[in-house]
């Protein structure tokens, strides 16, 4: 079965993206098949695998895994060599083109619903994924479904501390994991996403997931958040600084791109929760708060001059006080944290220093927030942790005028 751009007519297309190993793919397809058998009409459903030259052959694995019950089609995509030459590079090569190929295949097949499942979570896919990514769309309730995977208190903390609250505030969309790589979408959402002329931009591989969610959030699409169990993501082989730079950089780039939109947005759009609420499973990982605080203190000693380029004097003073605080009084106020993140977004926009340096210098500050958050919630229930995160989000909302004024007239904050 050679790669083709022609996908036969189907009611539902489930695309597998980011193929990283045939084992994961096989498991994912098997789970998808079970979900399809349980919740969909297998005869009218098609699996589509995006395939570039370097991973040629994956479709045979997919086909074998699916057997004859669910037809599999492979579509080809290109890897942009400009991205591979870019340093530092954090994305999956060709991911944006792979996603475009999958979405185009779904559109061209006339699908009434499409889901994209990332290979990195394919081994953890359950039949419920198929149900909640697809059914609400087939039922006409939702245009775009984004998952929420249950995580322990300090897991996914970059998302909890920066991505989710800023995304909610800036784009008016209170979803909790805006950078997740899986999603479901309606024919209208497919057409809208494919009509955008940004797929070929350099750097798009790295930021395509946040871009897709942002595009859905600001385009008037009806959005649902499907609540799943633990994701058990295949661990990306990146350190904290790299992950933070990738997530925050992608977010700040979207904030910059959409400035004309979010500066006039003054309300939240409704997000429909899909499926039963879930909780993280298994024992909670141990967090060494002392190491986190020391990392923050070390960061303050090393980076306060850099931070002074990005943050106003009062914020640097607050950080100095925090760096000297004993553990029992180590608290980073939600609104202060929101202003810090906003100042970094403005600094990114204005390129006050090199963007990779700016994003790199955010890591110790993030560890400071994480220290404060862990200390504050160390004896809290799951519900209390959620309340704490809600307070973080409200802090970002309260400080949105600060972001707007700083964005519009930044030098007023300088001495």
């Amino acid at each position: 079965m050679p790669p083709t751009d022609v996908v036969p007519p189907s009611d539902v297309v489930i695309g597998i993206s980011g193929i990283e190993g045939t084992g994961a793919l096989e498991a994912g397809i098997e789970a998808a098949r079970t979900g399809i058998a349980t919740y969909l009409d297998a005869a009218r459903t098609r699996l589509v695998v995006a395939e570039s030259e370097p991973v040629a052959g994956a479709h045979e694995q997919a086909d074998a895994a699916a057997g004859s019950r669910v037809p599999v089609t492979a579509v080809a995509y290109d890897v942009d060599s400009r991205d591979l030459l870019r340093l530092p590079y954090h994305g999956l090569p060709g991911r944006a083109h792979a996603l475009r190929a999958l979405l185009a295949a779904a559109r061209d097949s006339g699908a009434s619903a499409c889901a994209v499942i990332d290979a990195s979570v394919a081994h953890a896919v359950t039949p419920e994924h198929v149900r909640w990514l697809i059914r609400p769309i087939l039922d006409g309730q939702i245009d775009f479904v984004t998952p929420h995977y249950a995580r322990h208190r300090a897991e996914g903390a970059i998302t909890k501390s920066i991505l989710s609250p800023m995304f909610r505030t800036v784009f008016g969309c209170p979803i909790r994991q805006p950078a997740v790589r899986d999603f479901g979408c309606s024919p209208g959402a497919l057409r809208h996403l494919l009509a955008q002329r940004v797929w070929d931009e350099v750097g798009r591989d790295e930021s395509v997931d946040i871009w897709i969610t942002t595009e859905a959030a600001i385009s008037g699409l009806r959005i649902g958040e499907a609540q799943f169990g633990p994701a058990q993501h295949a661990a990306d082989a990146v350190n904290l600084s790299t992950a933070l730079a990738s997530v925050a950089g992608s977010l700040f780039a979207e904030v910059e791109r959409r400035a004309a939109h979010w500066q006039r947005l003054r309300s939240l759009i409704p997000v429909c929760l899909l499926g039963p609420s879930t909780v993280a499973e298994g024992p909670e990982p141990d967090i060494d708060v002392h190491w986190l605080i020391e990392s923050f203190q070390l960061g303050f000693a090393d980076l306060k001059e850099v931070w002074s380029e990005i943050l106003p004097p009062m914020a640097v003073l607050e950080l100095k006080t925090l760096a000297q605080a004993p553990v029992d009084r180590f608290r980073l106020d939600d609104r202060s944290w929101a202003r810090i993140v906003y100042d970094f977004a403005v600094g990114y926009h204005l390129q006050v220093i090199r963007r990779d340096h700016l994003l790199g210098s955010l890591a110790p500050l993030y560890l400071g927030w994480l220290s404060s958050f862990v200390l504050h919630t160390q004896h809290a229930s799951a519900a209390a942790v959620e309340q704490r995160l809600e307070a973080v989000g409200q802090g970002f909302e309260t400080e949105k005028p600060y972001l707007i004024s700083r964005w519009r007239w930044p030098e007023r904050f300088r001495s």
Partner: protein, 552 residues
């Protein structure tokens, strides 16, 4: 439909912030004393940082340069001083990569007398197609009602050609013979020239001196119906073969007269609003809003796909052709005490000297430029308050090298000073050591940063480029107040034209319940009620308010 332009939106020009520049004056990339495309490419990052979205390049074609390039001798090439066609194509590509459009000149009313067409015409038999590329006569008495535009240098619109043994027609300098647009071969050549540049990726053309294309006896030879027919033919050709391109008319006429250049949306996309520019200066000096509101009230509605191009200053003199004699006298007294600043019917000065180098006045006029209905055009160097040199001839005093830093030649070129195409401004107030890009980029209170922020703010709100205009009528006529509306967006602009603080009471009862949020600092002001809304404005102060509904 053919090639797509660089812009995504067919009406991209409505939201654009245009930056007008001379390639020769911007930056010298090969150190020969003349700016060039390689130099301009080096400065694209600067322009992107400033925030402009469209570059309007003054003529860069082969030319004897007797009218600063508006005397074109080859329409499909680059003047060797500025680089090559490859350099130009590279510039277009790199500008597009920065989401900037590129607009060039289409100087089609006339050519240089050195153009091969004219050399061929003067030797061709009378009545032949080659001869008829230009307008000839046996005598110099035809079209007597056509005015002379360059009064300071020309005595007639006709000049004798010794080779042709006939008079040729020229509306501008005698070395710029007018093309004959009654000859279909001329129109065909113009379309070929357009295709040449559009195929490279050019996003639009400024149509130079467009009212004068056609001559007819018994008329003033301006704005003739046949001229509009030519424009429509050009537009049809453009729309048939290309997407998202733009035509900008240079027609220095009263607003009602310019209206015809838009046709029914099937001629030019844009046209300059010359009279508004003049009235802004009059209104500011009189400290009185009526010259401004009057001219805007005289300004007709445009078809949906059309737009005014607004400017404060450009590469020409501040033209006073379209004002009354009294207004012209007032302008001379107010803005050109130095008689050397006067040229033809105008004043050859840059914005900052016209404003007496008063930062508040510069900012006030610029705020009006950026908030009136139309697309603003910034003349190179005005973003840092560059000065001029009235000692230089013609309009060269406002076309001096861009002042990049305080080094030799203002950082424009490392060539020896005597080899520069023009001396740099070096007086104590406007000289390059006092006014330059480098120092202003480091100074966050500088005019450069103010301009950058204002451009950024304007780009956030499409209401400025696309919204309606509604003047308010407060009793204090030193205050100009107006509403801009588009969809849900309502913006209130208030400007104090006076050098003293002014109070104003605005009737905003129709917007009761809205909260004015000052747009620069995002500061909420008291909510609007049924009673007059009171504001106090600092000397030459202005406010832009976003009016937010209570429900928001």
């Amino acid at each position: 439909m053919g090639y797509s332009g660089s812009a995504w939106d067919p009406q991209w020009y409505k939201d654009a912030v245009v930056y007008e520049l001379h390639v020769k004056a911007f930056f010298d990339g090969n150190q020969d004393g003349v700016g060039d495309f390689r130099g301009l490419i080096e400065k694209l990052d600067y322009l992107q940082d400033l925030g402009v979205t469209c570059l309007w390049l003054l003529p860069f074609f082969p030319s004897p340069l007797r009218d600063d390039g508006y005397d074109v001798s080859d329409y499909q090439n680059i003047h060797p001083s500025y680089g090559t066609l490859d350099d130009f194509a590279q510039l277009v590509k790199l500008a597009h990569a920065r989401r900037m459009q590129v607009v060039t000149e289409l100087v089609i009313n006339h050519t240089s007398d050195q153009h091969a067409w004219f050399q061929r015409a003067r030797t061709a038999p009378a009545g032949s197609p080659w001869r008829d590329f230009y307008v000839w006569s046996d005598n110099d008495r035809k079209y007597p009602d056509a005015r002379i535009i360059f009064l300071d240098s020309e005595r007639s619109n006709w000049s004798w050609d010794t080779v042709a043994q006939a008079y040729y027609w020229h509306r501008f300098f005698h070395h710029q013979p007018d093309l004959n647009f009654d000859n279909p071969a001329v129109v065909a050549e113009v379309l070929r020239t357009m295709d040449f540049w559009l195929d490279i990726g050019v996003d639009g053309f400024r149509l130079d001196a467009i009212p004068y294309l056609i001559e007819r006896e018994g008329t003033i030879c301006e704005n003739l119906p046949e001229t509009f027919d030519v424009l429509r033919a050009i537009r049809r050709h453009l729309d048939t073969r290309y997407e998202n391109r733009m035509l900008l008319a240079e027609a220095n006429q009263p607003p009602a007269g310019v209206r015809a250049y838009f046709g029914d949306g099937d001629a030019c996309h844009m046209a300059f609003h010359f009279p508004l520019m003049t009235r802004l200066f009059i209104g500011l000096h009189l400290e009185e809003r009526r010259p401004i509101t009057d001219i805007m009230n005289e300004t007709p509605e445009l078809p949906d796909n059309c737009q005014w191009a607004l400017f404060l200053r450009n590469h020409d003199e501040l033209t006073l052709e379209m004002v009354t004699d009294a207004e012209r006298d007032y302008m001379y007294l107010a803005y050109s005490r130095d008689p050397r600043a006067r040229l033809n019917l105008g004043i050859r000065r840059r914005l900052a000297p016209l404003m007496g180098n008063d930062r508040r006045r510069i900012e006030l006029l610029t705020s009006i430029l950026f908030s009136f209905p139309g697309t603003p055009i910034v003349y190179y160097g005005d973003e840092i308050g560059m000065g001029d040199d009235v000692r230089l001839g013609d309009r060269d005093g406002v076309r001096t090298p861009m002042q990049w830093n305080g080094d030799r030649n203002a950082g424009f070129s490392s060539a020896s000073p005597e080899s520069l195409y023009s001396p740099v401004i070096s007086d104590p107030i406007y000289g390059y050591q006092a006014v330059n890009v480098e120092s202003q980029r480091h100074d966050h209170s500088s005019l450069f940063h103010w301009m950058k922020n204002m451009i950024g703010l304007r780009k956030l709100f499409t209401v400025f480029g696309r919204g309606t205009l509604e003047f308010l009528s407060p009793a204090n006529t030193r205050v100009l107040a107006y509403l801009r509306r588009r969809h849900e967006d309502v913006v209130l602009c208030v400007a104090n034209l006076s050098r003293f603080a002014q109070p104003v009471e605005l009737d905003l009862a129709g917007l009761a319940g809205h909260t004015p949020v000052e747009m620069l600092g995002y500061t909420s002001f008291p909510k609007i009620g049924q009673t007059p809304y009171c504001l106090t404005l600092a000397p030459y102060g202005f406010y832009w308010f976003e009016l937010q509904r209570a429900a928001d």
